[in-house]
Assembly symmetry: C2
């Protein structure tokens, strides 16, 4: 792209494999901040990459992943994580020596397992995960501000050159994110509780409602109150993305589901036996966590506007 100050260009040529919510948001943000020269792109369907070009999000589109990445200084894998292995294999022959490959997938051990084997030694792999998103998909859903004030977690496997990690860090910081480096397995365990379990629960409860007889289901929709309504928003997230997350973070998710189920069983028992203090104590303890999140300025996502009056938890 012309007109961006050359001094701030971090990567003259960037290739995106996948240009949906996350890919197109990053591409928009890179352009906005003048971090990139030319953006090339490949996706699985012609229609969607042509559309991204029409939107002005990318400059060039290629039917072959290997063609798309040719000459790129940075390659961003931004596809559902189940597609990572195939994309890595398809693009490998086009990668230029010295290129950096990164990704944005929500699970990190599986990405390293799926992508690393296909990459030549001359290329550095710096896996990443921006903790930012909405329940929408596709290039139209993206926006340049998505990553502002959000964390991005990088999980470079042992032996990754420090200089490559530093350049990917600089990219995320330039688009407004805070960056941390973490061991991939640790990332997957933390995300299992902060993101994967909540989504599983939301899908379950909305599914439970969907299984009700037709009349009852209509009433649940009609009278959907706070709580359920919020769960339906989460449970409207992309099915492919979430299927892949659960299949690829199996152990960590099953472990935390197990704990959750034990805790729910204990509460169920307290309700059955009328143990009001058990309920009251838990309901008081949980407020401290909310307070912590508000204090860290992470209380509202990029997709939801905060309430007009600042939130307080006593």
């Amino acid at each position: 792209m012309t007109g961006t100050p050359a001094s701030s260009v971090l990567f003259p040529r960037v290739a995106f494999i996948g240009i949906g919510l996350i890919g197109s948001s990053l591409a928009r943000a890179m352009r906005q901040h003048g971090l990139v020269g030319t953006i090339a792109c490949h996706t699985s369907s012609d229609g969607s990459m042509e559309h991204a070009k029409e939107l002005g999000v990318v400059d060039e589109v290629y039917r072959s992943a290997a063609e798309a990445v040719r000459g790129a200084d940075l390659v961003v894998l931004a596809v559902p994580i189940g597609a990572n292995a195939a994309c890595a294999e398809a693009m490998a022959s086009g990668l230029k020596p010295g290129a950096i490959v990164t990704d944005v997938g929500s699970v990190k051990q599986s990405v390293i397992r799926d992508v690393s084997p296909f990459l030549p030694d001359s290329v550095a792999f710096v896996p990443g995960h921006p903790l930012a998103g909405t329940e929408h998909s596709g290039p139209d859903a993206g926006f340049a501000e998505l990553f502002i004030s959000r964390w991005c977690i990088l999980t470079p496997p042992p032996g990754t050159p420090e200089a490559a990690v530093a350049r990917v860090r600089a990219l995320w910081e330039a688009v407004g994110s805070k960056v941390d480096v973490m061991e991939p397995g640790h990332h997957d365990r933390v995300l299992a509780i902060t993101s994967h379990l909540p989504h599983l629960i939301a899908y379950t409860i909305v599914g439970t409602a969907d299984d009700l007889a037709s009349d009852a289901k209509q009433e649940v929709i009609k009278y959907s109150a706070s709580g359920f309504r919020d769960f339906t928003r989460i449970a409207a997230s992309d099915p492919t993305m979430w299927r892949d997350i659960f299949l690829n973070n199996r152990e960590a998710v099953l472990e935390i589901v197990q704990r959750f189920t034990e805790d729910l069983t204990a509460l169920q028992r307290a309700i059955r036996w009328g143990e009001g203090e058990v309920l009251f104590d838990l309901f008081t303890r949980t407020r401290a966590i909310r307070r912590g999140i508000i204090d860290q300025g992470q209380a509202y996502g990029s997709g939801i506007a905060p309430p007009p009056v600042p939130e307080k938890v006593e």
Copy 2:
């Protein structure tokens, strides 16, 4: 209050027992729309009712519930539902013949069980539940617009005079609500799924996180992503109110928790055995419910602003 057009006054004198989030919101809305003459109030602590008077939400405060309701045309019970029986007993001797008693509690069978026995035959009882709220408490948290476009469900027991139901309906409609009449047990089963189960689940998952070792807990707060963050908001709701709800809607809640647990177990199994289609099918089905809620204009609560771009679910 002076200055309101007399023609629109529905109840010349109204007494609130309890003036927290819901009570003070209703009092504010009644004033704003000129539906009331004088508002009297009683709560358990002097400080809180004096504060409501300072805020201008009520005109007169009384240390005795019987004194507060004396001469009132309408009495609104707006206390945690565990306090209903004691409040009904305490106020009964002050009720004037022909008065209407209503409430705003989140469970309806228990309110009828707890309150009806204390009411003289000369008084009509029209239990109600506005499906509106936030996770905040107390008179400062209330606002007149809380009920606009929200449902209010009335659950008059058999034999309640039609005229009394009509007047309470007129009140809620005048403050912006849509009103439905429902059998109390049916109300409790619907709310168990749309509100009580989601809150129980949110409390559980935040509790599960709170039980983690201190380091891990700090990380969960720090990296709290979409999903968990939303659950913490729900799990910051008032502990007394929610303890009372679970203790008083025990059967319906336990029944729906049981279904939910079965459904979660099935998903857990699908993850363990890598059954991607089971996950994908459920995650696709759940989107239809969200679409239904958006179509009915109930997608966002009074406490959360909708996102800048209208939400679409394909």
